[in-house]
């Protein structure tokens, strides 16, 4: 890759960086993407690939809904190996308290035009016979889906390259700022705008941003076609995702196209190493078996971990840094990176070009967070 | 959900000739010894099915095992080491945690397969695999067998199959 100025240099080729690259390239910006490893090698490769509308806050809802719609528009172009399946999500309620949450969500989605249907205990059982008997019911959101993230990131990058974007892999970046990107080999590239889309590593390039690693575990089974048909998430998941300190697990399973079952989820702060934590893995699997006892008879073929990039208010950082107008952030997506990647890219590029956005950008602006410092080039 | 637990002074992983010899030595020195193996019988790969015969070298060793207090933990595959001095295995009754002071690994060898077009076809298998299957009851009389290669294991397998 030669020196010379790019309009935009993106650090990170995960799903968010890849989406940003495509958006930039389609807007005729001269863009380069750098990654220290392979395309989508971080959280993108480790996660569940769930495309889900979430309503923890208005801002989270706006972003996830907008982005889900962008995925639906992109769907016809997605190659087969992206495995896009609109299987829907069923939020599972274990008791009456969670059932009232079902009603609240149903009303919220109804007001916002998201198709959703309340399921009685019997209807839930009919849709997912392998769920534990005695659950209270659930909410089905049929427009949610799943895909295979590494192939999705690769598709977005390749499409960006077809529009002229440059990709350099195996290229670690040691510093960004003031319109320059310094690579680990000492060379520098000039850029009008630098986008920090480095996910769990974003804080290394932009010091002081409130992005912390939040470790997760996943297990994939051998093939059991028909064992589960929808992405199933317990409503207690929200308590897990909300927790700021404690290690937590929540029931979360997903059917893959092969008939394999993907089982999650866990959240831990402060765990820096990627080795499997057997205690939390056991808790996660026990939780899963409480909801689907049949999982105990399945054969697990692989367990792995990944690091989500988490912010304190559970919203990503999308937009310019306060102290350096040449650095933009596109990170901090926690467990919603796949879902919100396309909308994040739109909002980012709208800001770069000064265009209006389909939704308000305010809630995701990095400036909302008070302290920002970054590694000077 | 609690798992089974066992405890030994010396745990030997692998019940083939090496594991058997190690276990007997340790046991004859007074240690409380356990031998764990994925297979349901002692003997590993090379002595598969030997317990059925009464006059082989293998059966002599197996009789020595029987004369000791060695505990054989059959059908358990070690899957993890959750903490120091504990191995976790998976067996017919679920998970089992085996505690030990000393560990001897006698897990033996496995065939290293070279992929080639056709290696996934039915009835194409490793040489050791065919021997294991024949010992597992596969009738071979009157069948045509091609043994590809001439390493020492292959010659031994060919000799075995010829007699079987």
């Amino acid at each position: 890759m030669n020196a010379g100025t790019y309009d935009v240099v993106i650090v990170g080729s995960g799903i968010v960086g890849a989406a940003c690259a495509l958006e930039c390239a389609q807007q005729k910006l001269r863009v380069a993407v750098l990654d220290h490893d392979t395309v989508g090698g971080g959280a993108t490769a480790a996660g569940m690939g769930h495309i889900v509308v979430m309503d923890d806050s208005e801002a989270q809802f706006s972003l996830t809904r907008y982005s889900q719609q962008l995925w639906q528009e992109l769907r016809p172009e997605l190659p087969d190996d992206v495995e896009y399946t609109q299987c829907g999500t069923i939020w599972v309620a274990a008791d009456d308290e969670e059932m009232s949450e079902v009603h609240r969500k149903a009303a919220y989605y109804g007001r916002h035009g998201v198709p959703a249907q309340i399921l009685s205990a019997e209807e839930l059982e009919n849709l997912e016979p392998n769920l534990q008997k005695g659950l209270a019911g659930g909410l089905i959101v049929p427009e949610d889906g799943v895909l295979y993230p590494p192939c999705a990131a690769r598709f977005l990058i390749e499409k960006a390259q077809n529009h002229g974007a440059l990709l350099q892999l195996g290229a670690p970046v040691s510093g960004i700022g003031n319109g320059r990107v310094r690579r680990a080999d000492g060379t520098e590239i000039s850029a009008g705008i630098i986008v920090n889309a480095a996910g769990a590593w974003a804080w290394e390039l932009t010091r002081g941003i409130s992005v912390k690693k939040r470790k997760g575990h996943l297990v994939i089974t051998d093939r059991y076609p028909g064992f589960v048909s929808h992405q199933l998430v317990e409503l207690g998941y929200l308590k897990s995702a909300h927790s700021h300190n404690a290690d937590s697990v929540a029931f979360n399973v997903q059917p893959r196209r092969t008939g394999q079952v993907l089982i999650g989820s866990s959240r831990q702060y402060g765990a820096e190493h990627k080795e499997v934590d057997h205690d939390i893995l056991a808790r996660m699997l026990q939780r899963a078996q409480q909801y689907m006892p049949g999982l105990a008879q399945t054969s697990a073929i692989r367990v792995w971990t990944g690091f989500r990039a988490a912010t304190p208010d559970k919203l990503p950082l999308i937009g310019p840094c306060a102290e350096d107008s040449t650095v933009y952030l596109a990170t901090g997506h926690e467990g919603l990176g796949i879902t919100t990647s396309l909308a994040s890219a739109r909002l980012l590029v709208d800001q770069i070009l000064g265009s209006t956005s389909a939704i308000s950008r305010e809630p995701y602006l990095p400036a909302r967070v008070t302290t920002l410092e970054h590694a000077h080039v | 959900m609690s798992s089974l637990q066992k405890q030994f002074d010396v745990l030997v992983v692998g019940g083939g000739p090496a594991g058997i010899a190690a276990a007997i030595s340790a046991s004859e020195c007074g240690a409380r010894v356990g031998v764990v193996d994925d297979n349901f019988a002692l003997g590993g790969q090379i002595w598969r099915g030997e317990h059925a015969k009464s006059d082989s070298k293998a059966s002599a060793w197996l009789q020595r095992v029987n004369a000791t207090a060695i505990e054989f933990v059959p059908g358990v595959r070690i899957i993890d080491q959750p903490k120091a001095n504990v191995l976790r295995g998976e067996g017919p009754s679920g998970c089992i945690d085996i505690l030990y002071r000393k560990l001897i690994l006698a897990t033996g060898a496995r065939e290293r397969f070279l992929p080639f077009p056709g290696w996934t076809l039915q009835n194409v298998m490793g040489a050791g695999a065919l021997q294991a299957l024949v010992k597992g009851g596969l009738p071979i009389r009157g069948k045509r067998v091609v043994v590809a290669g001439t390493g020492p294991l292959l010659l031994a397998v060919a000799a075995y199959l010829h007699k079987a």
Partner: protein, 81 residues
């Protein structure tokens, strides 16, 4: 000398010598253990429980390594081919 027992391979009875493994029972019955992701028939490769090519459903539990399981009278072996 060996005693004979009867197992079921895909519902059909198969007589085998005691001590025979489930993988061998399938071979004797002429059944393929499983299908690959591209629908090719597959059977045992290593014979010792490490390659996982011999997976079959045994007594209702799927994906068991049949070369490591000794037949018992009435055992139900099902292949997905």
């Amino acid at each position: 000398m060996s005693e004979q027992i009867s197992v079921l391979v895909n519902g059909a009875p198969c007589i085998v010598a005691k001590g025979t493994t489930a993988a061998v029972a399938m071979l004797i019955a002429g059944a393929e253990c499983r299908a690959s992701v591209t629908s090719e028939p597959r059977g045992p490769l290593c014979g010792m429980g490490i390659c996982f090519e011999c997976r079959a459903e045994i007594d209702g539990i799927a994906h068991r390594r049949s070369c490591q399981i000794v037949c018992e009278s009435g055992m139900e072996i099902r292949t997905d081919v």
